[in-house]
Amino acid sequence: MGQVKKITTPLTPEQVQDLKAGDRVTITGVIYTGRDAAHKNLVKTLQEGQPLPVELKDQIIYYVGPCPARPGQAIGSCGPTTSGRMDAYAPLLIEKGLKGMVGKGPRSPQVVEAMKKYGAVYFAAIGGAGATIARSVKKAEVVAYPELGPEAIYRLEVENFPCIVVIDAEGNDQYKIGVEAYRLAE
């Protein structure tokens, strides 16, 4: 666990290549939320040849369905959800230029292949630390699918949003590396 790398959005191909599995990073800039239902809609829209409701090229999607904000707060508790449920949809979004995903838990080989082919990175935020993470969100507004409630797409302005690079654009996977290092014999 080395020095914390500070990154800003949108991501450049150079930034993506510079990030390595096991790096701690903070993200500043705009990121978009999206989870199960929003991903289903996004992919359906692309398959029908229609334009997406938000431009995702060079952007980061955060897999989250936040709690409602209390008065005076930008957002409620907003930790990551399990990324694996978005695996069926992620490769197409990566092909269309998505550069980063924030979530928790492992990804499918198909997602990792797309990340290597098109240049994308996967970050983990700490699951269950939603109150802490909310402090790095300065502004939140719904930009698509308001009818989905907590599953709508929000545009978030974040400052020093903390996460860890778990899978880099070369396919190195910190989950595998970390567990291998600490596994003991039966």
Binding site: S77, T82, T132, P162, Y175
Partner: protein
């Protein structure tokens, strides 16, 4: 015969929903602190420190510790001398959930039809209600919000009696290992053994409501809990699956008599935000 009004029940459930979501109980927090002392991995320590900070912050601000404030699972023990007045018991519990999730700024995560429609109900109802009639004139209500990240990693297996203790161990370890970082470790592992399919599953869920880390009173089950905990923590999964020594905080087993020809085993995992709150009326 003691009378309890539906309004009193709804207000109690409201408070319990908010309390559970925002204030992690002392027992779980203590196990997290012990885990931090034991953890050797740098990422593991970092994650546990963040989790403990988050526990403090959510308590101070009455903010949900995790955005997945879950389906509202409610265990109610109804004294047989209690008379519930003013309306339906189930409606009162659901009204409490509705108020709690709205007034507590908790996420509404329930969808109506599970397969074809999946439309958010907008108020986190219906609750998942388990009732039991017990002697006495008290009503005990326990709210156990359960997020999907950990719930999705649970499993049930109908073992053969000949599979025995080894079969149970193998199944629990397989379930936890395959879940990896998905259920937000460090986890609490609830295991239900015996009964029928549905009984084993409810036992596994109920095992998660036991005071965290408190051992089973029977020495055989206690030893099995300890052995499973040790084996799970040899897996290397660690906090958030990033590698480390602390994969589980506790293993809780509940057992029940069963049929001569069966050995059901259910595993229900809970994330580190192992939330529950209870009240007695």
């Amino acid at each position: 015969m003691k009378e309890i009004s539906v309004e009193q029940i709804a207000e109690t459930v409201k408070k319990l929903c908010i309390e559970a979501a925002c204030n992690l109980t002392e027992d779980v927090e203590q196990l997290l602190k012990k885990g931090l002392e034991k953890e050797e991995s740098e990422f593991g320590r970092y994650v546990l420190e963040q989790i403990l900070d988050n526990v403090k912050l959510s308590r101070q601000e009455t903010t949900a510790m995790c955005q997945d404030t879950g389906l509202a699972v409610i265990f109610a023990e109804i004294g047989q001398d209690v008379h519930i007045v003013g309306g339906s018991f189930a409606d009162a519990l659901n009204e409490g959930v509705r108020r709690g999730y709205e007034e507590g700024f908790l996420r509404k995560s329930a969808v109506d039809d599970p397969l074809f429609i999946r439309k958010n109900t907008g108020d986190n109802t219906p609750a998942i209600i388990h009732t039991e009639i017990v002697p006495g004139d008290k009503l005990k209500i326990m709210v156990v919000p359960k997020g999907a990240g950990s719930e999705n990693m649970g499993a049930l297996k109908m073992l053969k009696p000949s599979d025995g203790v080894q079969g149970v161990k193998d199944f629990v370890l397989k379930t936890v290992t395959e879940a990896g970082g998905n259920p937000c470790p460090p986890i609490i592992v609830g295991v239900g053994i015996g009964g029928t399919m549905e009984k084993a599953t409810i036992l596994a869920k109920k095992a998660l409501t036991r005071k965290a880390g408190e051992p089973h009173p029977d020495p055989h089950y206690r030893a099995l809990e300890e052995e499973l905990l040790e084996k799970i923590n040899r897996s290397g999964i660690g906090p958030q699956g990033l590698g480390g020594r602390v994969t589980a905080l506790a293993v809780h087993i509940e057992a029940y008599p069963t049929h001569i020809a069966t050995l059901p085993v259910a595993v229900n995992l809970n994330c580190h935000a192992a939330r529950h709150a209870e009240a007695i009326l």
